[in-house]
């Protein structure tokens, strides 16, 4: 451990934590030793859910705006993939090339997100949550009742990623790497962006919007821009989500999953972009394996209890719990040698 930190300390990137290096190597070589189920249902799904939750973490953790419509934004991108591209239902399916469909879906989702932002940014706290929840619920009922464009209750099936470079991208390993690339791109983008001028200003708006106005910032514009960026992240994850499921229906954008995304972000921790991915992993593992612990009908109780415990003992999620343990260990290590006096 000490040697690793020495290597990290001497490298050109002194801020890389040894644990991050281990995680990166693990993620890269994960398909080499994991089964298809673990690669696809656990690995890839964690990355997709984590990316959607990352868009919420960016808004809530850095911007202080808890938006419950991030899954809705992802859902719109998913629907557009089926509507503009190809599906097997025989409704819509305009047959656009996959890249144009994906690009349009992501951009449309980001504009939709910015519009949600424009509606909700004048509110704060619980009112933001209420407005964005209302938008999510409205979207759910809209797509369920609209048969002309969204094919109502049934939704769409047969939405597949392209065969590119001779690879079928829905196979577990290619899809895992695709999800990993997207997740890593947005993870590092958010990590970098947090220290950018806009990232700093977003955090300052979270801390004190009134003061931000008094030093020359258009707080409303900044918040809407943050929603637009979060829409790019959620929209891209929405494309992956529909490729992962192969289908999309009102159930994919229902309130239960909207809440799941919030739970993932809160349980993981909103202070660092890694939080949503930790939360997503915990969620996916519980969702898949809680059934082994308890009756099928009661596995939601296990999930609920687990999350209740995390939030109860660590309001800033698993990430906060880890930071506290680390700080406690560091403190112990520091106080032990000095207990004899001196400094």
């Amino acid at each position: 451990m000490a040697d690793l930190s020495l290597i990290a300390g001497k490298s050109r990137l002194p801020n890389i934590h040894p644990a991050a290096l281990v995680a990166a190597v693990f993620l890269l070589f994960y398909p080499a030793f994991a089964s298809n189920f673990f690669i696809f249902q656990v690995g890839a799904y964690t990355l997709v859910l984590g990316t959607i939750a990352l868009s919420l973490m960016m808004l809530a953790g850095y911007g202080g705006m808890v938006s419950l419509s991030q899954l809705t934004v992802a859902g719109l991108a998913g629907y557009l993939m089926a509507i503009l591209g190809e599906n097997s239902v025989g409704v819509m399916g305009l047959g656009w090339p996959w890249w144009l469909t994906a690009l349009t879906a992501i951009l449309a989702a980001s504009v939709f997100s910015a519009l949600i932002g424009a509606i909700s940014v004048r509110t704060e706290g619980i009112y933001t949550i209420m407005i964005t929840l209302a938008i999510a619920v409205a979207f759910f009922y809209f797509v369920r009742q609209n048969y002309v464009i969204f094919n109502g209750f049934t939704g769409y099936a047969g939405v597949e990623p392209p065969v590119l470079f001779g690879i079928y991208w829905r196979d577990p390993t290619p899809f895992y790497y695709l999800s990993l690339a997207v997740a890593a791109f947005f993870f590092f983008a958010v990590l970098y962006g947090a220290r950018s001028t806009f990232g700093l200003s977003l955090q300052a708006i979270r801390d004190n919007p009134r003061r931000m106005r008094a030093i020359g910032y258009d707080v409303t514009l900044h918040r809407i821009f943050a929603y637009w960026l979060a829409g790019l992240i959620a929209g891209t994850a929405g494309v992956l989500m529909v490729w992962f499921n192969g289908r999309i229906s009102p159930g994919s954008v229902g309130v239960d999953i909207v809440i799941d995304i919030l739970v993932i972000a809160v349980v993981g921790g909103m202070r660092h972009p890694i939080g949503p991915f930790i939360g997503a992993l915990a969620f996916v593992l519980l969702e898949n394996f809680a059934i082994d612990l308890i009756d099928r009908e009661r596995f939601n109780t296990v999930i609920g209890l687990a999350f209740l415990l995390v939030v109860l003992f660590s309001p800033d999620g698993l990430l906060g719990l880890w930071m506290r343990i680390k700080n406690a260990l560091k403190l112990k290590r520091r106080t032990l040698p000095e207990s004899g006096g001196g400094q």
Binding site: S196, T197, L200, N208, G216
Partner: protein, 261 residues
């Protein structure tokens, strides 16, 4: 340089930095400001005095747009800014500090000042990290030294002492070429040493920067201001130079206490 020349010209033509015309502010039935007419010349330093509830901070809020006036007009360097939003007034050179420090607690001291410098310039939405040789980063460093916070540049705001937070509050108002500043009780809660540092900072401001200072500490107010406006019950009660105000029997009766010699 151009800006300074333009300001010198403005001063010589007698144009005002700030003009309030029949400004009133009501909160329901409460009249916090009533028919305020006030002019401050470019580069002038004015103290606003008055007891608690006299309407001093409401006056600042009306000028900045935090609480826009119910009636009346506000002009900044000749331009009517009554209908402009807060940030647009700030970009025209207006700055303010707050009675209770309003800072960005989760950010470092240097990031606070960097954002304030950036706020009055371009690139506010930039997704790139500021480079070490960025002009705004330099401006922030210089400003931190000027308010004696150079050693605390990387500290989180929440870790600063009250006095240091007040100094940072002032640094945020001085960032980005201000033309006119509203100081709302900058000396509140400061130690005597910090007070004299504050006076030094205010006295050493470039002469083209005018300001209004609300201050209960008469020593601070009268040492940095060349003119005084007394407020009472939301109205302007008296205006004059510090000596006139200090020796005015009505002011002594009302504000300094009847026994003041």
């Amino acid at each position: 340089m151009l800006r300074t020349d333009a300001l010198t010209r403005l001063q010589s033509t007698g144009q005002y930095a700030l003009e309030l015309e029949a400004v009133s502010r009501h909160f329901g039935a409460l009249v916090a400001l009533a028919d305020i007419n006030l002019t401050v010349k470019a580069g002038e330093r004015r103290a606003v005095l008055g007891s608690n509830g006299a309407g001093k901070t409401t006056l600042f809020n009306a000028i900045t747009g935090d609480f826009p006036p119910t009636t009346g007009r506000v002009r900044l360097f000749g331009e009517d800014v009554t209908d402009l939003s807060i940030h647009e007034r700030i970009r025209r050179g207006l700055r303010r500090t707050y009675q209770i420090s309003l800072l960005f607690d989760g950010l470092s001291v240097v990031d606070n000042v960097y954002l304030a410098c950036r706020g009055a310039s371009r690139g506010r939405l930039s997704l790139r990290r500021p480079k070490p040789d960025d002009a705004m980063t330099h401006a922030a460093e210089t400003l931190l030294d000027a308010v004696h916070l150079g050693a605390e540049r990387e500290s989180l705001v929440s870790e600063l002492s009250h006095g240091q937070q007040r100094q940072l509050e002032i640094a945020l108002a001085l960032a980005g070429a201000p033309r006119f500043i509203l100081f709302d009780e900058p000396a509140a809660g400061l130690s005597p040493t910090e007070r004299s540092e504050l006076i030094e900072i205010l006295q050493s401001l470039p002469t083209h920067i005018g300001f209004i200072i609300i201050e209960h500490d008469m020593d601070v107010a009268l040492r940095v201001a060349e003119s005084v406006t007394m407020m009472h019950n939301g109205r302007i009660f008296k205006e004059g130079n510090p000596e006139e105000i200090e020796n005015d029997p009505e002011v002594q009766e009302l504000y300094l206490g009847g026994g003041h010699a």
